[in-house]
Assembly symmetry: C4
Homo-oligomer: 383 residues x 4
């Protein structure tokens, strides 16, 4: 594995390793720091010292983004979606991709600082906030998932939006008739009424425009009720869509990990979807404590990649890819009898106690195999 491959693995938004996740967290933190420092710079009453510090932090962040841009440009050929052509053309394609353009824009503040430094007005600086918000949208984990949910449910959301528009315009028009004469400022025209209608329908309720006539108040009550119904409907649509999309993504990811564990390969293809549905994946850095002796045990682990060390009293046992551990606490319902610490960065599949029992009903052979292995180990331990 070359250095470029390894760095790409850290920057790939789809990699699930522990280190890659830390890199993403650092990036998100950096963007938030940058946004905060630019925001702080727009406060007119800030003392000059504080303003200089904010400008300095903004500069640092922008420079770091500049180096990030160069790194991402360098590793672009590793991207499987781009690497069908030569390295040069991959990089060119990345520069013109949405991500490439946004990452380039995010560097502008660094250049602006270099040229105009102190004279850069707060107004133009505030533009950077939007650029960095875009960068946040590109790199924040899970935003793609949520965008996908909105895309999947677009027809249902369009229906909810239509319902919203229907209630909104009806409410504004009727409110204009009922209140327009007496409250010229707030209900004197339909656009003015619309402001009241949207504030009420979303149950925000600023209180700047309030109906005063009895009929207007009845209308207001109806609009508020419609508002919480639309909100409830929206919650229903997104709840359904979100849980379906998450289930679908998890299934594919776990399926790919299961394929790497020899233990499961003996199970036929038909049975495997039962198993995939019940496993969860987890990543650990090197040296992390996976199991603490004496703790309550509520799950067992299958090692997909990496090495762990099991400390039973004085002895240390090494387990590698394809091994499993932690099953004894599930079978005997007793506290953990050993410490387990990762030797290298690890990816594991975790089987919860409830899922273990339910799987015992659907796939009795699999559980027997685990029990047989556990028995063998116990006997081995007492030897």
């Amino acid at each position: 594995m070359t250095l470029r491959t390894r760095i790409y693995g850290l920057l790939d938004p789809e990699s699930h390793g522990h280190a890659a996740r830390q890199v993403r967290t650092v990036e998100v933190m950096l963007i938030l720091v940058g946004i905060s420092s630019v925001s702080a710079g727009t406060v007119a009453s800030l003392p000059p010292g504080a303003r200089a510090v904010a400008a300095f932090i903004t500069g640092i962040v922008a420079v770091l983004f500049f180096f990030e841009y160069l790194t991402r440009l360098w590793v672009a050929p590793e991207n499987p979606h781009l690497h069908l052509v030569s390295a040069g053309r991959s990089r060119f394609k990345w520069v013109l991709s949405a991500e490439g353009i946004i990452d380039l824009l995010a560097v502008i503040p660094a250049l602006a600082m270099a040229y105009g430094s102190a004279r850069l007005g707060a107004e133009s600086a505030s533009m950077f906030v939007l650029v960095w918000v875009l960068k946040l949208a590109t790199h924040a984990p899970g935003v793609g998932l949520i965008a996908r949910v909105f895309h999947n449910e677009r027809s249902a959301l369009a229906a909810a939006a239509a319902l919203f528009a229907i209630v909104l315009f009806s409410a504004a028009t009727i409110a204009h008739w009922l209140e327009g004469e007496h409250q010229q400022e707030h209900f004197g025209s339909i656009p003015a009424s619309l402001w009241w209608a949207v504030v009420t329908l979303t149950t925000t309720g600023y209180g700047d425009a309030v109906p005063l006539s009895p009929a207007g108040r009845v209308l207001g009550g109806v609009v508020m009720l419609c508002g919480i119904s639309v909100l409830a409907l929206l919650a229903g649509i997104l709840a359904t869509g979100f849980s379906a999309e998450v289930r679908r993504r998890e299934f594919v990811r776990i399926w790919e990990l299961v394929a790497q564990v020899p233990f499961f390969s003996e199970v036929g293809a038909i049975a495997i979807s039962d198993i995939v549905d019940r496993l969860r994946s987890r990543s650990y850095p090197a040296g992390a404590t996976v199991i603490k002796k004496g703790a309550a045990g509520d799950s067992m682990f299958f090692i997909v990649s990496g090495e762990v060390e099991v400390f039973i009293g004085e002895r240390v046992k090494k387990l590698v890819d394809g091994d499993f551990f932690g099953e004894m606490a599930l079978l005997d319902r007793k506290p953990r009898s050993a410490d387990v610490v990762t030797g290298t960065a690890c990816t594991m599949l975790v089987l919860n106690v409830a899922d273990f029992y339910q799987l015992a009903g659907q796939q009795p052979k699999l559980i027997s195999a685990i029990e047989a292995e556990a028995k063998r180990r116990r006997e081995g331990d007492t030897e």
Copy 2:
């Protein structure tokens, strides 16, 4: 297929083709433009020029609705719900249907403009907003679905409404006792208190009426808590009802499409409901890119109607109704190896990768058939 049949297909609210969906989108946009221009016309402070532009746009939209009305009248005999009798009686039935009446009302602004043009007061113009909102309710996609959900869940919603009424009247009465003496204006009578109660129970919170005594504030806190509980309950009711109704509709639609794909007809009737549950439908206009070479592949496609062209290197392969494609990316987990572009407008069934794997567990024969075909193709390609 006659011209009338074809035009009816574009205007039928239940047709799922690409062109029909575009027609619906244009219609919704047109209604929204019309509503906006009428709304703008009610702003008293608008300069005469802008007002004239708004009136002109309103007129254009109303005239377009007039032609739409004539078109819908002409194609009415194609409507399967109306065509049991003679063409004339079908049209007469349509004119008297809810849709017919609303579409006729939507034309009135055009006539009003023609006769009274500039002298038409803003007040009477604002009436048009409601007529066009009704038209929006008739033609916006998905409003029928939502109406159905509310109808299905009417008994649960009535229970929630009863709960709402119980809390509302109790809160208003108690608030009247606690605060009535000191805040004569806001809590001096039960109807006055009701306004505070509804504003608080829906968590809108205008802030125009606020309890001041400690006991009144405790009551206020309880009412707010009841409010978020009612909202949560409503969300639960609508979420359950919405997902059930969507599932039911999709099932019927997909079932009908599956019946048109010979590949599935070999599967027995018992197995087919597993398959129907997992497929999604998608429509494409002619010339659309369905698959892009090099992209990650997460679904395969079955052609229900239409033609696609597969560009593998220099060669072009034509696939027609009943064929499937895109299965290789699922089986091998590699980027797409060809561009696929629609030759005509197409309707397809899409099988997601997660559903593909899960189906592999439930219907192994179906997946074997797909694998066999994929193998045959790969060998054919290397010939």
Copy 3:
């Protein structure tokens, strides 16, 4: 069936017939009219004439409740939960039950009117609102269901309440520290801060107390975020609980209706729970149109009790308990070919098209039986 049995059937809150449901609707309307008239009576600015009308309506409603009380007292021995003893003791037990006491209290306004009529102050009259709200809670349909959901989920709701209390008290204390000095009135003590905290945490936001310091505003933002999380959590708890309870109730009700249809008795006990899950029940008064010729057919009907008349052209066919109809539109996907009108009040089980197809996968024999009958009918029709 004696008159007393029949009247009890109309008043029983658990009976699902059409007439019983109408009686319940009338009762709820009557209570709401009563509450409204009492409420109107508390408006001091009302002209004496309007006040007299409100008092008159209040009196009428109270008198009607008096007769209702007598009727319910008379039919109490029909109540299966009370009829284990003699009729006299059943009535005595009912008088002392929660329902009996509330229904008695609801009569008091009638007596109060009789004795004190005009001199009865608005203050004491407003007490009636609460009594009638209690009566609404007893008789409104579905309130028992919702109460049951809250009872089932009481431990989860207690957890959410604990979370709410934890955030509430923490927020109030910290806000008191941050804002107490400068805004003595709103944040000067923890109880005062609590008012701000509850208004903010439920996202009501009256705006009467607002943090002004930067730290206070950060706290405010965090509290609002916690507020929408608590609301979301509550929605999750109630959505889960509500859908489980509704499913459970429906299952029992449909199970009992299915037992009355001989057609289903041939299906074994094992298969029946598949069927029960898919059927819905519906009640019709005599003379109602169940199916309209030419309409799209999306469900078939099994008659549990009552008689329907099928109008095919000139002929009229009578179907009775245990028969089914409407299956042809499902099998052929064509508009309805006959009008079907109820001859007597009917209870039916409805099978939706999506459920029909899915059942075809799970219970092929049942569907074959329906198809055989449909074929027999079609041949019979052409004879």
Copy 4:
């Protein structure tokens, strides 16, 4: 069972017995009383008498917490997570655990009172509220469950938070551009705008900062819509996560109880997960009425531990661990024919009527066994 074991059983947060639950309720009540009395003490306008009462109650609660601390320290060795070592080291470990530290801090007010009593300022007293809120978080039932849900769904919640941040910063920046010039105070800098953005995005809507320009109001409407979408999304995430976690916990708990009922042990391991899914557990104190003669019967009971007495007319029948009762009302759908009262504290498994019927479909043998036993009893009764 020693006294220490028994007391530990009462204090163990994971024990589900009736008495343990009452102890937890008392503890929560005590904490809430303490928080209330400290809060009351911060009201400057309180008369000295009331203040003294509040201080006295605070003192009492703190002293009770002192004794509670000693008791928990004493029983620490019974804690299975700590008892691997000697009693002394168990206690030491508990003292250093999060729970131990918080419980110790909760005692401080008692000491503070003892030393400084009246001179203790309201400011420092308010610190106690936070300590006791922490104690509430440790001991309130279900808080651990909710924390677990948030932990499980952390990646989805992070995505929602990122979405929230993206909308928040974009809205604040754009509002600053649109409104900054005219409303210097509220929109003059991005941090100031952020306050408006968060108040609007959570739909709290204090109304202290409101956009006035048309463009600002359009932005406001969009932000409100985003707000209800984010709320809906959050509800979806938490609803999914919450129901999954509850199901998982229940499964494990019921599984362990089922293992103690011999009746179920005859069912094979494969079938048992069907059963576990349908049972619920319930605890009763001694002398509680489980079934009331004449009531409608909608569930049957399996005794896990404890004794019940069945009163059939004059006779009394004793049932012990492993027996079941209440099945006749399910089989015959008639009111309960006997009173059943617990003789000792009992834990039971409850099978609902809907689940009973559904189980009849999946596990016909189990239901036959129950029917056989019911028949045997009925014959025994008539002997």
